[in-house]
Amino acid sequence: MTAARLSEVPRTGVAVTAATPARAPIDIAGVSQIFQRAGQVTHALDRVDLAIAGSEFVSIVGPSGCGKSTLLKIIAGLISRSSGTVRIDGQEVQGPYTNLGIVFQSPVLLDWRNVLDNVLVQIELRGLDPKQYKARALELLGKVGLGDFKDRMPRELSGGMRQRAAIVRALIHDPPLLMMDEPFGALDALTREQMRIDLEKLWLDRRQTTLFITHGISEAVALADRVVVMTPRPGRIDRIIPIDLPRPRHKDVLASRRFTEYCDMITECFMRHGVIKY
């Protein structure tokens, strides 16, 4: 329903229609990553296999240094892998994959552009016509509460607002795939909570295949269709937990016993590997 409303944005000229569901299945097979520095060999990732269905929301949780960010960068084709294959939509990833939106822990906005132009830089860098995307940019900014801040410079915004702008920038071209590398990691707890709620809304609109990296256990459960738990270095997949909770995940869902049980399952994985000790 909300997706249909997006398509009715007047005269965008952009092919954003509800008829084409965003799908970008990802197939990761035997991906390993070995760094060699000053004669020291580090296994960052060890034979990771993971199949993500189109339109699926997958959270990856793991302790710091488990290689989860490395995995995201390998999938996006931003760094090369030591071995294994990554296929998105059936095509093997070799070099940067461009049919996606990406959000990092820091918003990486351009200091010299206001919020709206920071969103539209995505369009400009792709060689598309920013005029055609302006209406959609304003609509998305409105949805994340930045409607009145479109003319502000990044330095005039709070950390949460900057990250909202970065999320809009990642979605402006309506990509079938969204990758987020600890996007709320630098935000305070309250902002983080609100951002999580808003992200779910945005995702329910378009159902992009989403890969969400975090070290927040409850955040991972609250957002995902499946949670991938990783072991400490060398990063391996410890356990994949399907999250069977109704959406949207309102506070009564998050207060339910099932939610707590899912969180406990992840905590126990971490306790088994000594990441969390009591």
């Binding site: 931003l78 990092f104 200091d111």
Partner: protein, 277 residues
């Protein structure tokens, strides 16, 4: 979210209000300058200092007015050397810096040579230029160029190379071509550093022109300075020093004005320094 909404920017002040504001902010500086001139004038009179040692400001002014034609035509020559040499430096050093930043080969082969050459005292080369190129405009132009060139290259290279890796990661996911990435990201990101170099170069340019004229010249403010110095016409020496300072100041503030227009997002971020006139 609403708790940390920044303050609304205030409306732009009118011209009159801006002047009053400027006077309030800079009035202290003006007062100190005025006081120094008065003290100078009075001290020279009080202690009976000889005019060829330290002329009072009033005498500097009257002597300057008597020979303003000669001095001003000299000032035009020197200004041309400053502006010409400086612009040449700008147009050579920024593309060179870009080449250094973009090509590993140039960075490893050409750039070390450039840095090594920087160690040579440029002023020591000035006599050579006279031998090669004579007394005219060209050797002065080249000396100004040489002195301005290095700071602009060095800071521009730093600017072009200091790219946030995550910004580049983002840019790579868009599949943008090298040139598009350059104009949309690398160049704007480098501009603050480039302007730092441009301002250092601008500050050096007047010195460079005067030194070049000291070595060998038949016109220009540096030439006149030596002439008047030789004849112990100290008031004229002072007049020329003041004029040279003014030319340097104008060149510097012109570059700063351009900076304000080109990268207002950066200038407004920086705390107003001593140069914020």
């Amino acid at each position: 979210m609403s708790a940390d909404i920044p303050l609304q920017p205030v409306a732009a002040p009118t011209l009159g209000a801006a002047f009053v504001g400027w006077l309030r902010k800079r009035g202290g500086v003006l007062a100190v300058f005025l006081a120094l001139f008065l003290l100078w004038e009075y001290a020279v009179w009080l202690f009976g200092v000889k005019e060829y040692l330290l002329p009072p400001p009033s005498k500097v002014w009257t002597e300057f007015m008597k020979r303003s034609d000669i001095v001003l035509s000299g000032a035009i020559v020197t200004t041309q050397e400053i502006v010409g040499g400086y612009l040449l430096a700008v147009f050579v050093s920024i593309p060179l810096a870009l080449a250094v930043a973009r090509s590993r080969f140039i960075e490893e082969s050409v750039y070390p040579v450039v840095v090594f050459l920087q160690i040579i005292p440029k002023i020591a080369i000035a006599p050579l230029f006279i031998i090669w190129l004579g007394f005219g405009f060209t050797p002065k132009l080249l000396i100004v160029f040489l002195l301005c060139f290095f700071p602009i290259v060095v800071s521009s290279v730093a600017g072009f190379k200091a790219v946030d890796p995550e910004v580049m990661d983002f840019a790579h996911t868009t599949g943008a071509s090298g040139w598009r990435m350059f104009f949309k990201i690398r160049l704007p990101q480098a501009l603050p550093d480039i302007f730092t170099g441009l301002k250092v170069g601008a500050a050096l340019s007047a010195t460079a022109a005067v030194v070049a004229e000291f070595v060998a010249a038949d016109r220009g403010l540096g030439y006149l300075l030596q002439q008047y110095n030789g004849q112990l016409e100290t008031p004229m020496v002072f007049a020329i020093i003041v004029l040279l300072s003014l030319i340097g100041l104008v060149v510097y503030y012109f570059v700063e004005l351009v900076e304000r227009l080109v990268i207002p997002w950066h200038v407004s971020q920086r705390p107003a320094g001593v140069t914020g006139i």
